[in-house]
Symmetry: D2
Subunit: 363 residues, 4 copies
């Protein structure tokens, strides 16, 4: 195990979907940072289910209770632990699953690893529920970054193969806010409509769809990150793959760059307003693992929700033979739109960690 | 900085392209492992340049000298340090670059981070040369894994947008060997011919192309890896992004899964020959960060070689104004095919680390 | 910051003395371990204050609430988070201290590090209160170890310079239990009486005394730990210095060995009952950082309680001049006896971590 | 294994006593630091054996060869790897030892851990030889620190129970230099004479003695280090126990504080020349794991050299029975005086790491 990431700022997540509480511990937060709890709640509400037909009908209050590290709304330098008490659970829905692992879930691997001991009710520690504490951590990180002119934003880059527009070369905090304020976080609302239709269509078929999230960080200084294995890409990827259902991470032009020629992919440098920039950003703001000062851009691929209504082929662990499974309960036909703030959250926490470390290339 | 990855097996890389030597230190290797040095050399030769018109004419001997950790060809349990002495360098080719950062290289970010102090001759520590010590580490890891029935293989999945076939659901060690024996490591040689034409065409235009590498690991037990941030994906991605020019990493169906429906993407479980398997492998052998026992599969996107012959727009750091740059010297029109063994190497080292840690889900 | 230790088993502590709750997160616990909560409470009660005149009159319930990781009293493989809610606080007692740092406390260094932001009421995150969550973690670790025949015990080796007897060459679990059952944890009760007199005498003078704790671990296999910087000594010392007031750590004969000759200090090997042992144990069961299979023995030096009743010289941070300070409130004239279970707890958690890692010298 | 310490500055040591080379890799050094190689050699010569009758007659050149990270005598920001080639080895002296583990050496634990595979000639990776690369790292760190007004010095605090004087409350760089320039590094030369007599006497008896080293760091800012498990004490202790033969580490008054009353041990604060200081330094410059700005002081206990001339009781691993062993070859009757620069080296490397991390209590 390690449900933790970070170097100078460590973010640890704990809890099971149907346990007493889920939570997060942030060790290494700077002191003296005022946290706007209403803004934090608004950020968390962006991942909340049950808001429309696109998501499950479960109602999650997701109100963080701060046990430590935050006094009178200001960080005090000590580990910040916040929890969310669980409620509204229907554990009985999951009784069959102990024997019949759900395809594309972690039921089988949990069975192999922990025998029958893992508390896999509701997906246990693998549940999407655990992204709520990630949003507490990331929401706090976002506020600390914003105070220094660094902003993190994201949108649904694609759902079910339907593409949204891409962020412009220089996205702005206002653009991030505008997308975040939308019920469905896309740049191009027509594309968003088509995506929502695809989600509802999947829902009607008892099926699900996946999506891609594009995330950008603006306002970063050049020089953050280290070469080889502690570069910005390494650290972001290592954390982003911790979000449930993520199966791919790419930076800048990403896999698309592999089909370009060097003359097309190389970002020319130029001096603009006395500052060195690149005139395009296929590098995603990162060269040699180190920030260039251009926006850091990345895309994260979210697989279709594994829980679907139709019958699926699986095995009976007790009988050691093939079996059929129909998953009951309430499930999201798509989780990609709810994962948008989660990608922002994890990205913000990693970026804050990098920023705390600073650019100590010279002393 | 940290040019190191791994938890129980730490792999540290050091050296600059035109420095005295490059090398690797492996801390945590098990003792008593006989290393076939001829096989290791053969593995390293797969990334060697100068073998045909597809690569630079530089000749690199790349013969590792073992300073510690290997006695009479057997690991002795202590840190294994191996170096490769540098030679055949033309540092004068790089004199102009100190002032004019090459697009898509780390010259500019190195300048920001270390001022004029970084030894960037030949790309310094960012050079593709540094993948030679990675291959020493990975070649050793591959031999240790193979002894336990675990095999790592890779091929060029695409070059310049031209796709190779994919690995079958259950690739074999023989298939890995067959691909590795080819001068151009593809499954489908016709696709390989087309790729090579594209590389030569780019070369003739003074340009370059990128590619995608597919890698698979077979023979793994189920239950390796941990949920959330120390899963198999997190650890592999964190290390793979350390290979120069990697801009994307995906597992199983990867970004492709995002366009599938859940019913298409979920891998059904089945009992085959008394063993639990999945009948497809969109998960890439990993669910919840933990191995399923199916092949671990991943794809790595390699951007086009940044060094191209044509004139490029950049800036003069001293003058603070726009400038033009033409890179002289010998360069690979494509590095993706040479990166195939490097991806195997890094993957093997991470997998060995995971295997040393074992499945300690229960005690 | 990092209020965390451990490699495969990470133990993170959070909370401030007068905050809402203190707690611990254990990431990496094996699944399927039944925890006897009554026994855990009994272990925690050993550090509880307010039991007699030797300690402060504060009453701390110290009842852990398990938020995650423990279901029906059995570990489930996921991070185990347990908290203790705070109560019975008299924060007003500490109001003067924000300006006048208490000698030998962390008030001044906290002021330098976090400005006025640190929540130092009651000592904040530096308080001895934080050893309660350490005892939750260590008490759990002790139970898991005991199930495998590994026992951790400790006693007061000295108070105010008055020595207790030492553990015999081969202490037993019964001996550990017998000491743990005593109100004052010494081997030699006469020495214990003298120590208690010294504590009461210090109390009457408004002063305090320190002590030394000897801890031993029996039942360990040989071969745990790694050479140089991840040896058993390195790991134990790194964690033990995290206990408030610890100023020294030594293993086996420790500093005493420095006055011995080699012929006196070297532990002869011998075969006893078919097993290789040493006939004395100046090495404290550790050679080259690796366990010999003999008891691991260590001593930890605890400074006198910094809070004393008399007037002390300090400074006024606001005035920037010398000042006098008299600390009000209830304080322990000695904390060494209450620290005995804490030393056991930290030792047990480190040993369990080492045991989970196992001896992977060969594969 | 992990023959590595450090967080932002990682120091990795490799090599066996009788292997091809020993060396060190420093990952995270700031760029642009000029290293005076003559001064570095002079520092390394302080640990060199064969200088007088107090040490073994072996001659070790110990000239570092820099493979990377240092160009024209200036750090370039990339990992600095330096090696020392081995020579003058008499491996035949050690042939008997493979079967009969030497008391107080790591022979037995190495046997348990790595079977017969460990290369234990000359002590292998456990040899005092490995402190030479530590001195390369520490000598470089000392130069970088000195440029910023931070100085590390040490002296023999005791040998064979014979005490030297202690450092004054405020030791100076000049005092450190004066001690370092002595053939026998003590403050009080009369005590030094007595210590040398004790060493020679032990040598004549075919025996050995141990000692204690006091080390101090001056010029540090207040506010370095973190509470609980990443405090200055935790990090220094974790690294210092990596020096062969160290069995105890204490800070400030250390174990001596345990016999003091609080009123004696607490260091009063005072304003002197506008700066907050303590008027004594029982805390060793560290409160709550964080530097106070006073000198950091520590003592390290070095056990008597395990290799002694007389017959010792051991076992035959092959026969599984008791056996007698007489160690041939050249050995130091005391290693404590040679360990003085090693303690400085490790301390300096840890302090530099802390300094690179800085005081990020607030942002």
């Amino acid at each position: 195990m390690s449900s933790e990431f970070g170097k100078l700022l460590k973010v640890s997540v704990f809890g099971q979907s149907h346990g007493r509480a889920i939570g997060v511990n942030m060790d290494g937060l700077p002191a003296g940072e005022a946290i706007d709890l209403d803004a934090l709640q608004a950020f968390m509400d962006r991942r909340k289910p049950g808001q429309n037909r696109l998501s499950t009908a479960r109602k999650e209050a997701d109100r963080p209770i701060f046990l430590s590290g935050l006094e009178n709304g200001v960080t005090c330098g000590f580990p910040l632990c916040a929890i969310i008490e669980n409620s509204d659970q229907h554990s009985s829905d999951y009784s069959e699953l102990a024997d019949k692992p759900r395809p594309a879930h972690a039921d089988y691997t949990a069975h192999v690893k922990w025998g029958g001991h893992a508390d896999m009710r509701g997906g246990g520690h693998f549940s999407g529920r655990l992204t709520a504490p990630l949003c507490i951590a990331g929401g706090i990180a976002k506020q600390i970054l914003a105070r220094r002119g660094i902003f993190v934003g994201a949108h649904l880059s694609a759902v079910a193969g339907i593409p949204d527009a891409s962020f412009p070369l220089h996205p702005t905090a206002e653009l991030f806010d505008a997308v975040a304020a939308k019920a469905f976080p896309v740049l191009n609302d027509e594309a968003g409509e088509a995506m929502q239709s695809a989600i509802l269509s999947a829902r009607e078929s008892g099926d699900s769809v996946g999506g891609v999230i594009e995330c950008a960080v603006i306002g970063l200084p050049a020089g953050l990150g280290d070469p080889m294995f502690e570069g910005v890409e390494n650290r972001l990827a290592a954390a982003l793959f911790g979000i449930p259902a993520v199966k791919g991470v790419e930076f800048g032009a990403g896999f698309g760059a592999c089909s370009l020629r060097g003359s097309e992919n190389n970002d020319p440098f130029a001096v603009e307003n006395g500052k060195i920039v690149t005139t395009r950003n296929n590098a995603g703001g990162i060269l040699g693992g180190i920030t260039t000062g251009m926006p850091v851009t990345l895309r994260v691929g979210i697989k279709p929700t594994p829980s679907i209504a139709g019958a699926q082929q699986t095995v009976s662990l007790s009988a050691g033979e093939n079996a059929e499974l129909s998953i009951r309960g309430r499930h999201d036909p798509c989780i990609a739109h709810r994962a948008v703030p989660v990608v922002e959250a994890v990205t913000a926490a990693v970026i804050l960690d990098l920023l705390l470390e600073g650019n100590h290339g010279t002393f």
